[in-house]
């Protein structure tokens, strides 16, 4: 066996070992706990593959159609930042865990914060896009768009 093959085999076995430890621990927590966790394990994948991924494609297609040549690389990066950070912020945006007896928990107006965040990213992305385009114009380079 080559060295690479040995490394890969060892890694697969180590991975199987660690995953088995986790699976056993999960079963140890009881059947009801396992089922509740399994539902969430499956739901996460379905949510991504059947909702988030197709929605991303539709949004990208829509934006390409609406914005046309105004859609710059910088703006696309900005939209990636907005999209992914917004998903990470869902638990606070909904303030699902807020409690009346604890004002120090989830204390902000998260929707207002989100609007400011989106506005800042969009402004930076648009300015950066314009700036990049002007630079390109000055250097006389060809437009790399297809």
């Amino acid at each position: 066996m080559t060295t690479v093959r040995v490394i890969r085999t060892v890694l697969v076995l180590a991975g199987l070992g660690l995953a088995s430890i986790g699976a056993l621990r999960l079963f140890d927590l009881g059947w009801a706990n396992f089922v509740a966790a399994a539902v969430w394990l499956g739901a996460g994948v379905v949510l991504h593959d059947a909702v988030i991924a197709p929605l991303t494609i539709l949004i990208a297609l829509g934006l390409a159609r609406v914005l046309g040549a105004r859609l710059s690389g910088a703006l696309m990066v900005g939209l990636i930042v907005i999209g992914t950070v917004s998903i990470a912020a869902i638990p606070v945006l909904g303030r699902f865990g807020a409690r009346l007896d604890n004002p120090s928990l989830l204390p902000r107006n998260y929707v207002a914060g989100w609007l400011v965040f989106v506005a800042v990213v969009l402004v930076v992305a648009i300015v950066a896009g314009r700036w990049a385009q002007r630079e390109k114009g000055h250097s006389g380079g060809a437009d790399p768009r297809r």
Binding site: G15, L18, V77, S104
Partner: protein, 392 residues
């Protein structure tokens, strides 16, 4: 982009060839994958330390100094998880066409493919699970029926195991694309077409999104980021320090405010009782100590109170014993906690009576609470009613 319809029309499951963006390539997946693996490893190591710190029967215990150790660990744990969210989303986006690959016809290839897909299914589902459950927990949102801590811990092992298997399976292609230029098309689908965004900018964009997610939330543990962290989960609170559980939620208001309140300190048959006034008459010490919650937020305050060691001297307890701390709470997971001996003996281990110059507020644990360096917030028992030296 995707060519959605084919000749004949109707709903057709796409094939990998229908995805034409050259950004969806192993060259991007491997690079974002490296960043993701780094954040996962950081999350794992800090998670294991955190798990031990909170364990009733730990394999190893944290030292008592420097006092910011647990705070740093927990901040890194939650922050590395948040940093992983944009990376995971971009990584999944870059490999999405693979989901639609048709199974091979030969039996042997089919088995290999099934194993590989199984490991990927485990990796993707556990990764999403870990990040989603962790994010929700940091915002005290529990929309599930499983036990968070034990389940989050068990599934972490499955996530790491399947990540290692995934890396092992993909090792040749990872090595190949990382050695080659990012724009090399050796491993691309034949249908790949140029796109507006460069691959370099996509990888950079994923890293940028990750950094922005961190800055937007880290203010709950990094004070100077408080103003810009629009998604921070904690701020304010009595005497400027946030709380996790109020006295009302713990159902201790009546017993904590009662005139009959006495702190009982016991060692074997030696037992002494103190009213809050008597506690205030004992020698007081001030220490700047952070409250650091398992959920990642932390805040530093000036705590004033009696040294645990002084209190144990009152009942003539020798050194070297663990100490059991009981709250006035009638119920709750952490009503009774055990403070390992080396924490109890530390000079900075306090039974705190005031915070930032104000008498301890009810929500911070009035009449008195435990405040010890490098202990998770849930183990810094509030509304302490009884302290007993463990002798068995």
């Amino acid at each position: 982009m995707v060519r959605r319809t084919r000749e004949g029309g109707g709903l057709v499951i796409p094939t990998p060839g229908d995805f034409t963006s050259r950004l969806r390539s192993p060259a991007v997946a491997a690079r974002v994958g490296v960043l993701l693996a780094i954040s996962f490893c950081l999350c794992l190591v800090t998670g294991l330390i955190s798990h031990e710190a909170q364990s009733a029967d730990p394999v190893f215990v944290l030292p008592t100094s420097p006092v910011w150790l647990y705070r740093l660990n927990q901040g890194l744990h939650v922050t590395s998880g948040i940093a992983a969210v944009p990376l995971l989303l971009v990584k999944l986006w870059s490999v999405f066409p693979k989901l639609f690959a048709r199974p091979p016809k030969k039996v042997k290839e089919l088995i290999v493919e099934a194993l590989e897909r199984g490991s990927i299914a485990a990796l993707v589902s556990t990764s999403i699970f870990m990040l989603a459950s962790g994010l929700a927990n940091a915002a005290q949102w529990y929309p599930w029926d499983f036990r968070f801590r034990a389940t989050h811990y068990a599934i972490a092992w499955i996530a790491v195991g399947s990540m290692i298997i995934h890396i092992a399976i993909k090792l040749p292609i990872i090595a190949d694309v990382l050695r080659a230029d990012i724009d090399s098309d050796t491993h691309d689908r034949e249908t790949s077409k140029p796109s507006l965004l460069t691959r370099r900018n996509l990888v950079g964009g994923a890293a940028l999104a990750s950094a922005v997610a961190v800055v937007a939330s880290a203010g709950s543990s990094v004070p100077w980021l408080r103003k810009v962290s629009v998604f921070g989960v904690r701020d304010g609170g009595p005497a400027g320090i946030p709380i996790n559980k109020s006295a009302r939620a713990a159902n201790v208001v009546a017993s904590a405010l009662s005139d009959d309140y006495r702190l009982q300190v016991q060692y074997l048959d030696q037992s002494v009782e103190f009213s809050r006034k008597q506690l205030l008459d004992l020698p007081q010490h001030n220490y700047e100590l952070p409250v650091a919650c398992v959920e990642g937020w932390s805040a530093s305050g000036l705590w004033t109170g009696i040294r645990m060691s002084d209190l144990l001297d009152e009942v003539g307890a020798p050194r070297g014993h663990d100490v059991r701390i009981e709250s006035l709470q009638a119920s709750g997971h952490y009503r009774v906690t055990t403070l390992p001996a080396h924490f109890a003996e530390d000079d900075q281990a306090l039974l705190a009576l005031s915070l930032n110059g104000e008498p301890l507020s009810l929500d911070h644990g009035y009449p008195c609470r435990l405040m010890v360096p490098n202990r998770p917030g849930v183990l810094q028992t509030k509304w302490v009613g009884r302290i007993e030296v463990v002798t068995t």
